[in-house]
C-alpha cells in the first residue's frame, strides 16, 4: 500500500511522518507520537474520550484518518494545559470533583475549552450542548456542569 508523507502542527510543534492510508489519527497520536491524553473508548465516535482540537474545533480523533491531519493544527490536552480557559476549567474541575476515574476528563475539558474560547458567556443549555458528545459513566455530569458554570462566573 502506498504510504503518505504528512505534516502537521501538534501542540505547537511541527511533526512530519509517513503513514499508511488506513492509519487512524488517534492510533498515530497514541502509538507513534506518545500523546496519551486522548483515549481509546469506542472506536466509532460515540464516547468522545478521543477528543482533540483540529484547527480550533473539537473532533473525534478515532473517526479521522491520519492523512486528514496533513497541514492541520492539532492540539491535545497536553498542549491545551497552558491555555487560559483550560487552566480555569481545570481549577474548577478539581474543586468541584468534576471527574472520578478521570478517563473522560481530557475530552470533556477540551470540549469545554472550545466552548469558552468561542463564547465566554454560555447559557446552561450551551454548556450541556457542548459536552453532550462526551460520555462520563462516573459523575452523573452534575459536577461537570457546575464546574463549567463556575468557570464562566469566574467564582
Amino acid at each position: 500500500m502506498k504510504k503518505h508523507n504528512i505534516e502537521f502542527s501538534l501542540n505547537g510543534e511541527k511533526v512530519a511522518l509517513e503513514v499508511e492510508p488506513s492509519d487512524v489519527l488517534l492510533d498515530v497520536l497514541r502509538g507513534r507520537l506518545g500523546i496519551k491524553s486522548p483515549k481509546v473508548g469506542c472506536d466509532r465516535g460515540d464516547c468522545g474520550t478521543c477528543t482533540i482540537l483540529m484547527n480550533g474545533k473539537t473532533m473525534r480523533s478515532c473517526l479521522a484518518l491520519a492523512v486528514e491531519a496533513d497541514g492541520a493544527d492539532l492540539v491535545t490536552l497536553e498542549g491545551a494545559n497552558s491555555r487560559k480557559w483550560t487552566q480555569k476549567l481545570q481549577k474548577k474541575f478539581h474543586e468541584k470533583n468534576a471527574f472520578q476515574c478521570g478517563f473522560c476528563a481530557p475530552g470533556i475539558i477540551l470540549s469545554a475549552t472550545e466552548l469558552l474560547e468561542k463564547n465566554s458567556k454560555p447559557t446552561a443549555h450551551d454548556i450541556k450542548e457542548a459536552i453532550a458528545g462526551n460520555l462520563c459513566r462516573c459523575t452523573g455530569y452534575e459536577p461537570i456542569v457546575a464546574a463549567i458554570e463556575e468557570t464562566v462566573k469566574g467564582k
Binding site: 464516547c47 474520550t49 471527574f99 472520578q100 476515574c101 478521570g102 450541556k128 458528545g133 459513566r137 455530569y141
Partner: protein, 800 residues
C-alpha cells in the same frame, strides 16, 4: 497496646486515636489527591503504558455459535501470514479457572458456550496483522441445541451447558446440582412461612423481570503480559483486583512452574470499573499468551463490542414474589423466588446470586421468610459483579410489590416502610443480627425533601406528576476471610508514602486513605502519597469491590498509622525520657502535655533517628503496617435453611424519593427531583460521598429508563455499542439531585465509616415504576420502564 481496641471501640466508634478531640481531616471535603493528574491528562491508564518496539498484539478468534462442539481448528494459514508470531488455541491451554467456582476456560477446548467466546488467539507484531490473522483461522463447529432463558434452563429436556458440573471445584458455600443447569441454589428458611401467610390479611403474588445490563466503563479492558527469560510473569492490567488476579494467574498457570512470588500484577489508574473489572476475565488470555511468547510483551486490548459481550454482564433476573401483610401494615410472610440468568460461566456470577439470596428481604424485619435464589447456566455471555451485586434486581420486585400492597390496604407506602424497617439487633435472614442503622432517619429526611403526601400537578395538562419513595440496603459480598493490609513509610521531610492494594477506581480511595492517615499522624493530606497497586511492592488486598475498601482498607491504613505513631512515641519516650502517655502528635510534631516547650519536628527524626546525649543515634526509619480481617465472619451455614453463619459483615441502608413528570401520551419521563439519603456511618470525605450519590443515581436511572441488552433467538447480542446501547449523556441529568448523608457510626469502621459506592444506584428501578403508577395508574413489571412501555400501558388502560 491493643490496636484492635482502638479501632473497634464500640459506641464511640468515631473517636480517633486522639480520643476526646475533634476530627481535623476526617469528615472534611479535602480536594482529591489524584485531581491534577487526572484533569491535566497526566494520569496513566493501562493502555497508555509504553512497552517499546518489541510489543506484540493479540486478536481473538471467537465463537459464532451459542453452543457448539469444536470439531477442528486449522491455524496453518494464519501461521504463514507475515508478522504473525504465534497462534494459540485451547489445545495449548486446557486449564480451567474461576473465582468462586472453577468453571471457566482460558480458551474453549472442545465446546463453545456463548457467542463471542474465545477459541483461539493470534499474536502478531501489529494489531492489524493480528486481526487479519484471526480471520484466517478456520474452525469447524457442530452446532448443539442451546438454552437462552433461566427458567427454560430448568426444564427436564433442556440442553445442559455444563455436563461435567459434578467435577468442578467451588467454595463450600455453593450448592450446584449436577445433571441440571443449576450452578448454585441459595436457600433461606426462617420462621414459619405457612403461619405467616395465615396471619396475613392480604396476600399478593406477582412476577417482575430484569434484563441483563452492561457496565460501560469508558475505558475498555486491557492487559499486557510479559513472561521473561527468568520465568517470571508480569501483568499490567486494568483491574479492580490485582491480588485476586495474581492468585488466579498463579493457580491456573502453575503447570508452567509459576509460584505466586513469580507473578507480579501492576494496576495503574483504571477508567471506571463498576464491578466489570473485578475478578479475572480477559486478563487470563493475556497471561496465557505471554507464556506462549516468552521474552516479549503481548498486549490484549478489548474493543467496545468485546467489552459488551465478553467481560461480565449484569445477571438477568425473573423474580417471583408472594408477600403477606396484615391490616396493621406488618409484613407477615415473604416467599421470594429469584431465577438468575447467569450465562455460560458463573465463577463470579454465582456469588451475586448468593449475595442476593442472603438479603432479598430488603431492609425490613421479616420473621417468616423463604428465599430461593437460583443461579442458572444459559448459553449467553457470562455474568458477574456489577455495582449493586444483585440487589438492584431483587429490589425492583420487592419495592414495587411493597408499594402495591400498601396501597391495596390503604396504608401510606412510606409509613408502611417506616413500620417494617429493620432496626439494630433485629434478626437478619440468616440469623445473625443487624448492625446500627439510620434507615428511619433516611426515610424521614427523604420524605420531607420530596414533600411526600403532597400531590403535585404539572403546569402542562399533557403531563402528570408522580412521586415515589423506596428503601434500600446492601452488604459487601465477600468471602469471610477477605483481608486488607497497608504499609506506611515516612520520608526525610516528614512526608508519607502509603502502599495499599485497594484500587482507585474513581471513588476517591487514594484521597480517603490519605485522610485517615493524616488524622492519626497530623501530617497534612498534601504531604501524603498513596500509590496504585503493584503486587511486588504493595501489601495484600482481596479486591476493590462490594463497597468495602473504605471500611476494610481504611481500617488497615488506620492500623498502619497507629503503629507508626506508636513507634514515634516509643522512640521519644526512650530518648527523651518522657512518659509516653503525656506525648501527642500535632502539626507534624511530637509534643508533650507536661512540657509545653517540647516540640520535636517529624522531619528531624523520622528517617535519621534522634541523637542522644552521647551523640549516638536512636530509632531509624519510621514505618507502620496494618492488617484487617473481619474475624467474626463465617460463610458456613445449613444449606437447606441458610441459618447459622455470619456471611455478611454489615449493611449500609438508606432511602430514596423521586418527583417524576410523565407525558400522558408519549410516556416520556423527566426526573424533576430525586433525593437519596444513605447511612455511610461516617463520611470521611462528604463531597466524595455526594459524588457517589449523584453518579450512582444516574447510572441507576439509565438501567430503568433505556439501557437493555438485546439478544436474538440465536443468542447474539444485538446492541454491543453506544449507538444501540444508550448510556446517559449530560442531557439526561435529573433537574435536581439532593444527596443526604446520614451518619450512624459503624462500630468496626475507620472513624465509624461503612461503604457507600454501590448503594446509590440500586433504588432507581422501583422509584421509577412506582412513580409512573402514581402519575398515571399503570404498573410496569419488567425493566426497563421505557417511555414506549408506559405509553402502551396507558393506551391499553384507556381501552378497558
Amino acid at each position: 497496646m491493643d490496636l484492635q481496641k482502638l479501632i473497634t471501640k464500640p459506641k464511640k466508634g468515631v473517636k480517633s486515636a486522639k480520643a476526646g478531640e475533634t476530627l481535623e481531616v476526617v469528615g472534611k471535603s479535602v480536594l482529591r489527591v489524584d485531581g491534577w493528574e487526572k484533569i491535566k491528562g497526566a494520569a496513566k491508564y493501562t493502555d497508555d503504558l509504553e512497552f517499546g518496539p518489541g510489543l506484540l498484539y493479540a486478536a481473538l478468534v471467537e465463537s459464532p455459535f451459542a453452543h457448539a462442539r469444536i470439531k477442528a481448528i486449522d491455524i496453518t494459514k494464519a501461521e504463514k501470514l507475515h508478522g504473525v508470531v504465534k497462534v494459540v488455541t485451547g489445545r495449548n491451554f486446557t486449564q480451567k479457572f474461576g473465582l468462586y467456582m472453577n468453571d471457566r476456560y482460558v480458551f474453549a477446548t472442545d465446546t463453545v458456550r456463548f457467542i463471542g467466546e474465545q477459541v483461539a488467539a493470534v499474536v502478531a507484531t501489529d494489531p492489524k496483522i493480528a486481526l487479519r490473522g484471526a480471520g484466517l483461522v478456520k474452525v469447524e463447529y457442530e452446532e448443539l441445541p442451546a438454552v437462552m432463558d433461566a427458567v427454560k434452563a430448568l426444564e427436564k429436556d433442556s440442553p445442559l451447558v455444563h455436563p461435567d458440573l459434578k467435577s468442578y471445584t467451588h467454595v463450600p458455600w455453593f450448592f450446584p446440582k449436577p445433571g441440571t443447569n443449576i450452578a448454585h441454589w441459595r436457600k433461606i428458611r426462617k420462621g414459619d412461612l405457612a403461619k405467616g401467610f395465615r396471619d396475613a390479611d392480604l396476600v399478593m403474588e406477582d412476577t417482575y423481570t430484569v434484563p441483563r445490563y452492561a457496565h460501560c466503563a469508558i475505558e475498555p479492558h486491557s492487559a499486557i503480559g510479559l513472561y521473561d527469560a527468568s520465568g517470571r510473569l508480569t501483568m499490567w492490567t486494568s483491574s479492580q483486583s490485582p491480588f485476586t488476579q495474581r492468585h488466579v494467574f498463579a493457580e491456573t498457570l502453575k503447570s508452567f512452574g509459576l509460584s505466586h512470588k513469580d507473578v507480579r500484577v501492576i494496576s495503574t489508574y483504571i477508567g471506571g470499573g463498576f464491578g466489570g473489572k473485578a475478578g479475572v476475565t480477559m486478563e487470563i488470555i493475556a497471561a496465557a499468551l505471554a507464556i506462549a511468547v516468552p521474552g516479549r510483551p503481548v498486549k490484549l486490548l478489548w474493543s467496545r463490542a468485546q467489552e459488551f459481550y465478553n467481560t461480565y454482564q449484569r445477571l438477568g433476573c425473573t423474580a417471583k414474589i408472594k408477600m403477606g401483610v396484615s391490616k396493621a401494615g406488618k409484613i407477615t410472610a415473604l416467599d421470594f423466588k429469584l431465577h438468575w440468568d447467569s450465562g455460560a460461566y458463573v465463577e463470579y456470577g454465582a456469588n451475586v446470586v448468593n449475595a442476593a439470596g442472603l438479603s432479598a428481604s430488603g431492609p425490613y424485619k421479616v420473621d417468616n421468610l423463604s428465599i430461593d435464589s437460583m443461579c442458572t447456566y444459559t448459553n449467553l455471555p457470562p455474568c458477574g459483579a456489577y455495582r449493586g451485586f444483585g440487589y438492584s434486581e431483587f429490589l425492583f420486585g420487592l419495592e414495587s410489590h411493597i408499594t402495591r400492597m400498601a396501597q391495596e390496604l390503604g396504608i401510606d407506602p412510606v409509613e408502611f416502610r417506616r413500620k417494617n424497617a429493620i432496626k439494630e439487633g433485629d434478626t437478619l435472614p440468616y440469623g445473625a443480627h443487624m448492625n446500627p442503622t439510620g434507615i428511619r432517619d433516611a426515610i424521614d429526611r427523604v420524605a420531607k425533601e420530596i414533600k411526600w403526601g403532597v400531590k403535585e400537578k404539572s403546569k402542562d395538562p399533557k403531563k402528570a406528576i408522580g412521586k415515589a419513595q423506596v428503601c434500600f440496603w446492601k452488604s459487601p459480598a465477600m468471602p469471610p476471610n477477605a483481608s486488607s493490609s497497608a504499609f506506611l513509610k515516612f520520608n526525610e521531610d516528614g512526608s508519607i508514602n502509603i502502599l495499599v492494594s485497594g484500587m482507585e477506581i474513581g471513588q476517591g480511595l487514594l484521597t480517603v486513605m490519605a485522610q485517615i492517615a493524616s488524622e492519626v499522624l497530623s501530617v497534612p493530606v498534601s504531604k501524603i502519597r498513596v500509590e496504585t497497586p503493584d503486587t511486588d511492592r504493595n501489601p495484600y488486598e482481596w479486591q476493590t469491590v462490594g463497597s468495602h475498601v473504605t471500611w476494610g482498607c481504611g481500617n488497615a491504613v488506620k492500623r498502619a498509622a497507629l503503629e507508626a505513631r506508636e513507634r514515634i512515641l516509643d522512640l521519644v519516650q526512650r530518648v527523651h525520657c518522657l512518659d509516653k502517655s503525656t506525648l501527642y502528635l500535632e502539626d507534624q510534631h511530637v509534643k508533650c502535655r507536661t512540657k509545653p516547650d517540647f516540640a520535636l519536628r517529624f522531619s528531624d527524626f523520622v528517617i535519621n533517628g534522634i541523637q542522644a546525649d552521647d551523640h549516638t543515634f536512636k530509632g531509624g526509619p519510621i514505618m507502620g503496617s496494618g492488617v484487617f480481617m473481619p474475624e467474626f465472619a463465617s460463610a458456613i451455614s445449613d444449606p437447606e435453611t441458610g441459618q447459622g453463619g455470619h456471611p455478611n459483615v454489615h449493611y449500609t441502608t438508606g432511602s430514596a424519593g423521586i418527583i417524576l413528570e410523565v407525558d400522558r401520551e408519549t410516556g416520556k419521563m423527566k426526573i424533576k427531583k430525586v433525593a437519596l439519603a444513605v447511612d455511610c456511618g461516617k463520611a470521611i470525605n462528604p463531597d466524595l460521598v455526594r459524588g457517589q450519590i449523584v453518579g450512582g443515581l444516574l447510572q441507576g436511572f439509565a438501567t430503568v429508563l433505556y439501557e437493555d441488552m438485546r439478544y436474538n433467538e440465536k443468542g447474539r447480542l444485538l446492541n454491543p455499542n453506544f449507538s444501540d446501547y444508550k448510556i446517559p449523556t449530560v442531557m439526561d441529568m435529573p433537574d435536581v439531585v439532593v444527596p443526604i448523608i446520614i451518619e450512624v457510626a459503624q462500630p468496626d469502621g475507620p472513624f465509624g465509616a461503612r461503604g457507600v459506592g454501590e448503594h446509590t444506584m440500586i433504588p432507581c428501578a422501583p422509584l421509577i415504576a412506582n412513580a409512573v403508577e402514581d402519575a398515571l395508574g399503570v404498573r410496569i413489571k419488567s425493566m426497563p420502564v421505557t417511555k414506549e412501555k408506559v405509553a402502551l400501558a396507558v393506551k391499553a388502560q384507556k381501552k378497558h
